[in-house]
Structures are given as structure tokens and as C-alpha cells.
């Protein structure tokens, strides 16, 4: 069982760009994540990743997210996330990803 294939979609809300993620965030998600970041960064404002349809994140997926955060940092962009399960919120805390991206409860509180 390899889980649902990773997909990402960028949409722009009144608050800014949102990257909707679907499926598994692992090393295979790297290109999709990077492209989504580049596309989202065309719109001003905090880039918010929606994890509510992500079913699995492993250490290689964390590395992919670190790569995106590194790009954002070099460009001075704020990054946020919502839709994380309690477990992945804990993982984001432990890995300190949460120190470099705003973790929101849901779409309504994001941006």
C-alpha cells in the first residue's frame, strides 16, 4: 500500500495564495511541492499549505517541506499551514517546522 499519489493545486483566496495538498507527502512530492510554491509565490501574501487531505507525511516529506521553507526564507515570504492532524502538528513541533511556519487550526483562521 503506497497511499494516494501526491497532488497539489494552487488557488488564490481573498487572503492570499493557498496550496491544497492531497495524498502522501514524501520524496516523490518534491517536484510537485516546489512547483506549487513557485506558482503560489506569484501572488503576494503568506503562502498557506492546506494539509487537510494529506494522509501521510514521512521524514522524506519533511525534507521536502524544509526545502520549500528554505526557498521562502530566501525570498522573505511567510509560510503557513492548516489542516494538520494532531499527530502531524506534534511532528511539526518536534522537528521545529512549526517555528518557521504559522500553524493554523483551519482555513478560516489562516492568513
Amino acid at each position: 500500500m503506497s497511499g494516494e499519489e501526491f497532488q497539489s493545486t494552487v488557488r488564490v483566496t481573498g487572503k492570499g495564495p493557498v496550496v491544497e495538498l492531497v495524498g502522501t507527502v514524501n520524496r516523490a512530492a518534491k517536484d510537485g511541492m516546489d512547483q506549487a510554491y513557485v506558482e503560489a509565490s506569484q501572488t503576494p501574501g503568506e503562502i498557506v499549505f492546506d494539509f487537510s487531505r494529506v494522509d501521510y507525511i514521512n521524514s522524506t516529506g519533511i525534507a521536502v517541506i524544509v526545502g520549500v521553507l528554505a526557498m521562502a526564507r530566501s525570498e522573505g515570504r511567510d509560510v503557513g499551514a492548516y489542516g494538520l492532524t494532531d499527530h502531524y502538528k506534534e511532528v511539526f513541533e518536534i522537528t521545529r517546522l512549526a517555528d518557521f511556519m504559522h500553524i493554523y487550526e483551519d482555513a478560516a483562521t489562516a492568513n
Binding site: M1, S2, G3, T24, Y56, N58, S59, T60, I62, A63, V64, V66, G67, L69, A70, R73, S74, T85, D86, H87, E90, V91, I94, T95, R96, L97, D99, F100
Partner: protein, 528 residues
Amino acid sequence: MLRRRSKRGHATTDVGSAQSHSATTSLEPIEIPAGDVLETLLLAAGGPVEVAGIEAESPTIDRLREEGIELVVPLIGQGELLGALYLGQRLSDQPYSTDDRRLLGNLASQVAPAMKVAQLVREQQAEAKERERIQQELQVAALIQQTLLPKQLPSINGWHVDAFYRPARAVGGDFYDFIDLGGDRLGVVVGDVTDKGVPAALVMATCRSMLRAAALRHDSPTAVLADVNDGLVPEIPPAMFVTCLYAIIDTAAGELVFANAGHNLPYVRTGDGVVELRATGMPLGLMPGMEYEEKTYRLQPGDLMVLTSDGITEAHSSEGEMYGFSRLMGKVAAKVKDDDMVTALVSDLEKWTGPDAEQEDDITLVVVRRTSSAEGSAKVFHSDDDEQVLTEFQLASVEGNERLAIEKVSAVVAPLGLEPTRLERLKTAVGETVMNAIEHGNENRAELEVGVQVSVRGGRVVVRVSDHGGDREIPEAVTPDIEAKLAGEQTPRGWGLFLIEQMVDEVNNSRENGSHIVELVMNREGEA
């Protein structure tokens, strides 16, 4: 006041107080046995009854007179005598007036419903306690039954053995067993006792013991089944019997000798399709002197044999359609990822019955696969004596198989009551450990296997993961420097070992005969 347990057919009486001319006196409870004439009399009167006016005789009435009771006020609810108030002489020595009686009658009519409620509450409490006791006994029975099932799956070079067992109730009548017959011979048993629950479990325990003893006495499956049948006939309750398949595998030659006492036919998936292994014989325990046909079959490298109980084939869909042999055969024929036939079949069965369906019958599944090469077989795990091994399985070293490991480990530990937070952490730790085993230990070589064992030791869940990287140094887990990673000074990777360390209570590494074993230990409870 009288307390009555009408369901048990007798009554007990509590006298709260009885008044005498000199003082308030407590009396020993006076019972009114069921059917006593006093009961009839009180029910007929429906209100206070003067003892002096009672013409009937009974030991209870005699006792009332001896105790100086003047008035009996029945407590009646829904036509049933729930209790009674006994009153002696008034302190004033005056007879009870009409007003007194009316007052007592009113009092009784108000007390009776409360008495009834109190009785019902008491009965429900007693029933709840009884249910709890039965539940506890069933849990003990389930634990005992677990000890009758194999604690570990056989680990034989060139063979993979997997098993699944899920009783429909706390305990079940299905069973399976692996018997080391010495040399290269392995006995494999799958059985099914008619009925479910405790009666079936008791017969299962007897039958299993008989089979083990007979398997060590006789060299042929036919002789074993005939022996067990003769032993079981006088022991088994009427209308119960046992279906059973017993096979002996010569693991060096791949030869299978088997006999069947009315059990589901084994299926063998070969390179040319699925073969049914037929051998005739009556179920065990029906009639003495039965003879069993014996057959042989040679399992070729790559062949996979599936033994099932009828809990699978007779499971119904929500539309009432039976799973059936043809669907089972079709599933056995299909190639499944990593040849993990147990997961594939259980998952297909659950799809068939629906997620919330109540399991109709015990389910047992044993899969024996002759691998094409012994070279890539996973490590044989050793577990401590005080451990209960819940499952062992192997996975090919293919990226993504860590999800399969997570799924299997989750399914096995789900009934153990691990806190949800801790279960999620364990899943992540298992995924990362298996991923490391695939990528680093086995260098993504699909032909090399990753072994996984799940066991329970005391209040802890222990998951061991083995790979073939025993000659490699095991790196220390270090806390990644995220600042350096974000600054591009370090690779963004390197989170696996750190995550594993953070997710579980203990991580132990060991190396043995070319294998590297990681042991993850998780307390069932702890700080969130």
C-alpha cells in the same frame, strides 16, 4: 419493612420498626414465603390488616402474633406484594383509629412505588455486576486461548508462513497450529469446531492437545486424524464435531502429505493457476473408526498454499450473498503485492462484508509459501520468554512498503488499547524504521526482505524490524539543525532516526549474523 425478591421465589422481610406500648423495638426480619396465605390475604385486602382479625393460620401469621404485631400495612405495586409495615401496639394503648389506618394506607401507597424502583435498581446493579464478571471471565478465557495458538510463526529458510486468527466472540472454536516434527518436517493444522464461543473453545483446546500428541506419535496425517477422531468421539458433546486439515511439509523437498477431516480444501497457487488439494474424510468426533484419505503434493518454489476456515467462505455481504469458494479461489489466484496474501484476503473479506458488519463466525487463515530463493529471507527473530508474539511478517525492499508495515502493525496493536496519540507515534516510528531498513539496510534491493515482528511484553508493545545491513555501522540519532538546513548549509534530509527516537519510549539496535535489528518499545500508556 419487607423486602421481596419475587424472581427467586422467596421473600425476605425487614421490619424497620415496630412500636410497643413501652418503646420502639427492632425486630428480626420476618419472611413471608412465596405462596404464604398471608401474602394472598394482604394482596386481597389492599390496605392495613389487623392481625387479630386474621382467621387463617400460617407460620408467618403465628410469628406476627408472637411478636405482638397488631397491624400489617401491605406495600403493593403493580399487583405484587413488595413489602409490608408491621406495627405493634400504639404507645397510647389505644386501638388504631380509622384515621390512623387511612394515614398508613396513604403512606403505603406512596412508599410502594419507591420500593419498586429501589428493587429494580438493585436488580440492575446485580445484573451489571454479573455481566462484568462474565466479561472478565471471557477476557481470561481469551487470554488462555491465545496461549493455545502458536506464539511464533515458524521461520524456515526457503519458506514464509503467515497466519491470521480472529474469533467472532471473545473466544472461538477455530484453531491453527504448527508442529515441529523434527528433521525437515513441519506439521500444519487448521481446524474448526462447530458452534462459536465458550463451548467451541473448550472443544478446540481438547482437540488441539490431542492433535499435538497424535502428531508426535504417528508419521502420517491419516493416522493422526484417525487417532484424534477415536479419542474425540467419547469426549465431545453431542451435535458437535471438528473439521480439520492436517498436513506435513517436508521443507527440504517441498513435499506435502495431507489428510482432511471435512475441512475447507486448501488452495495452492502455482505458476499455472490455482490447484485444490482434495482428500476425503469425515469430520472428527462424529463416529469412531473413521478412515482418512491421504494425498501428497509437491510445492514448487514460488507456490503458495492457503488454508482457511469457513468463517471466510461463509461470510455474507450486506446483500446476503456469501463470499464463497469461487471468490476465494479468484483472490488466491491473483497476484498480490509482496505476496502478502493474508492482508489481501482479510482486506477483501472486510470489503465484502462491509466495515460495520458483525463477524458471523471465527476466521482463520494460514498461508504457507515456498520462496523462490532462501537467500533473501528475513531474519529469524528471537523474543524474550515473557513476550507474546502477535505477528511476524516480511516485506520486499520496495519503497512504499513502509505503509504496508504501518497498516499491519496498526491492525495487530489496535485491540491492545494503546492511547491514540501513542498509536500514531508508533505508526510513524515503524514507517521510518522500515523505510531505513529498505533504503539503507537492504539498499533498495527488492529481493532482500525486511522482517517485522510485533509482540507484547508486560505493558509494552515491542516492534522489531530486521534488514540485511548487519555489517554496517548504525549511525547515532542526532537532532537535525533546521537553521542550517534552511540556510542551505546542510541537506534538508536526515530526519528519520531523529523522528524514531522522538516517537517511541525506547529504541534498541543490535546486529546478528549479518542482520541489523531495530527494536522499538512503546508503553501502552504514558505522557501525551
